[in-house]
């Protein structure tokens, strides 16, 4: 019986946490915009969240594209369809790998950094200071980071995709000897901008929203000790990854299910 009560209490706690997360989402985003003050903060956050993630995204994209090219060739050559490598690489990247892998890497690099930063601000009472001076920390600290994460992920995802395709093309054309005309032509024939590229970007936008929301909430809600911050960072990475993979399944089913 005790176990059941414990389980019930945990469930209610999670529900309460979810409610708090919803409230900070609302309070951060729904308010009078103050462009003069907010825009520089927003730009600064795009730098920290997006620009500094570029290296890991580009390197990962390149390697994944190259692996796809290699593996794709190996599999297709048995069916005599190695000319289809281009479309295999492009479709896998644009529809699935670019948004999902970018989101997972983003959660690990930028998400955990966000959580740690906000958690540390809470622990050193910087958030309280802001409140006492009369500035709402949700508007000044949380909101710019929210919008930045929202914008950065689709950009990173597009960069990942194109770098991956490039990597795949290097492997296929330069190393494996696929004719470059048919590589690109087959790819262009089978990748549809609206159905594939745009849907992939929509996924990236959704992932950006969810990962940033989780990261920001965990930082804001954490126990303000070094142990608490460490727990919060771990939760960010774990919850974000699970959410991304779960949402990916739902979105894929909705977007590509009928094809």
């Amino acid at each position: 019986m005790d176990q059941l009560a414990l389980l019930g209490r945990k469930g209610l706690d999670k529900l309460a946490a979810f409610g708090r997360a919803g409230m900070i989402l609302y309070q951060s985003l729904v308010a009078k915009p103050q462009p003069l003050v907010m825009f520089p903060l927003f730009v600064k956050q795009i730098y920290f969240i997006g620009v500094l993630s570029l290296i890991i995204i580009v390197v990962s994209g390149l390697f994944i594209g190259m692996v796809l090219g290699l593996q794709g060739y190996t599999i297709l050559v048995d069916y005599g369809s190695e000319q289809a490598v281009g479309q295999m690489v492009a479709l896998s990247l644009v529809r699935e790998l670019a948004p999902v892998v970018t989101a997972l890497l983003f959660a690990g690099r930028a998400g955990s950094a966000l959580t740690a930063e906000i958690g540390l601000m809470k622990a050193t009472e910087q958030l309280s200071s802001l409140e006492m001076i009369g500035v709402d920390p949700l508007r000044r600290i949380i909101a710019p980071r929210f919008w930045a994460g929202f914008i950065c992920l689709p950009i990173l995802s597009a960069i990942f995709a194109i770098v991956g395709v490039y990597g795949g093309s290097i492997v296929s054309i330069d190393w494996l000897g696929i004719y470059d005309g048919s590589f690109w032509a087959n790819m262009q024939n089978s990748v549809n901008f609206y159905d594939d590229v745009l849907n992939g970007l929509i996924k990236a936008v959704v992932f950006g929203f969810v990962v940033t929301w989780i990261a920001v909430f965990q930082g804001y809600d954490c126990i303000p000790t070094s142990e608490g911050i460490s727990q919060a960072t771990t939760k960010t990475v774990v919850y974000s990854s699970l959410a991304v993979l779960g949402l990916d399944f739902i979105l894929t089913a909705v977007m590509f299910g009928e094809l």
Partner: protein, 270 residues
């Protein structure tokens, strides 16, 4: 409790609990204008919470907190914003904003609440930094400051707008003697020259008794004693005596509840 001529903060029947734990139970506190008032008590009794309640960061379960006749818990957001312009708070760790310079930290409240030109802001910031002795450090980043220096910068930031009420959260904790002396000196000097009301939350008997005009001692969610330092040293209550004299054992026991000592030792591995 003596009656004051001019009360700037009037706390009436304040009740506040955190979860199941009652922190304050129908507490009455009056803070006189222009003086240094200390709030003291054992650790964990919620002294910092009181400052947060006065500043409107927390809402009490019941009771009222009148600051210059305005009831803080009942204020609207914009009214609270205006009231906060008249309050300055020095947090225990300084709480400087780590991503901006010392200058920008002190300038921050000025930029938020006023529309002054850059030249004027520069003058005010340098004046405040000069008052705490750190004018030459205005270009440094908070990470480059020592703990004591960081607190002084935070103090400069707290008085940037010349507030009517300055609150100090455990200002003496963990300071070396020189830094402590500097801080005590600053608090007293600023209080006299700027004429604001100072509220110090502390559990450091020595320094606080030396500087405060009036003291409240809080324990068990109630005010157990109040008065001038001289009045308190004559109080009969065992609880107050233990606190003021720093006795290890008394109403707050030294030993955590445990079994009989002899039994524990003789029982071996248990």
């Amino acid at each position: 409790m003596t009656q004051f001529d001019d009360v700037v903060i009037d706390i009436q029947k304040l009740s506040f609990s955190r979860g199941d734990r009652p922190i304050y139970n129908e507490v009455d506190i009056k803070i006189p204008r222009g003086k240094i008032t200390a709030i003291m008590g054992p650790s964990g009794t919620g002294k910092t919470t009181l400052l947060k309640l006065i500043g409107g960061q927390l809402k009490p379960d019941s009771g009222s907190i009148f600051v210059d006749s305005k009831n803080i818990p009942a204020l609207s957001r914009s009214d609270l914003f205006n009231v906060r312009e008249r309050m300055g708070m020095l947090f225990q760790s300084g709480a400087l904003f780590t991503d901006i310079s010392v200058f920008e930290n002190v300038a921050f409240p000025i930029r938020v609440h006023t529309d002054l030109s850059e030249d004027m802001i520069r003058d005010v910031v340098l004046m405040k930094l000069h008052a705490v002795g750190l004018r030459g450090a205005h270009d440094l980043m908070p990470s480059e400051l020592s703990g004591g220096m960081a607190r002084r910068v935070a103090l400069a930031r707290a008085i940037a707008l010349d507030p009517d009420i300055v609150m100090y959260d455990e200002p003496f904790t963990g300071q070396d003697p020189i830094a402590m002396g500097v801080l005590v000196n600053l608090i007293r000097r600023l209080n006299h020259s700027l004429g604001h009301t100072s509220i110090i939350v502390s559990h450091d008997i020595q320094e606080t008794l030396g500087i405060a005009d009036y003291i409240y001692i809080i324990a068990d969610s109630k005010v157990i004693a109040s008065g001038t330092p001289e009045e308190l040293s004559r109080v009969e209550s065992e609880q107050v005596k233990q606190f003021i004299q720093g006795l290890p054992d008394g109403p707050v026991p030294f030993h955590f509840p445990a079994n009989d000592y002899e039994d524990d030792l003789l029982k071996g591995n248990r």
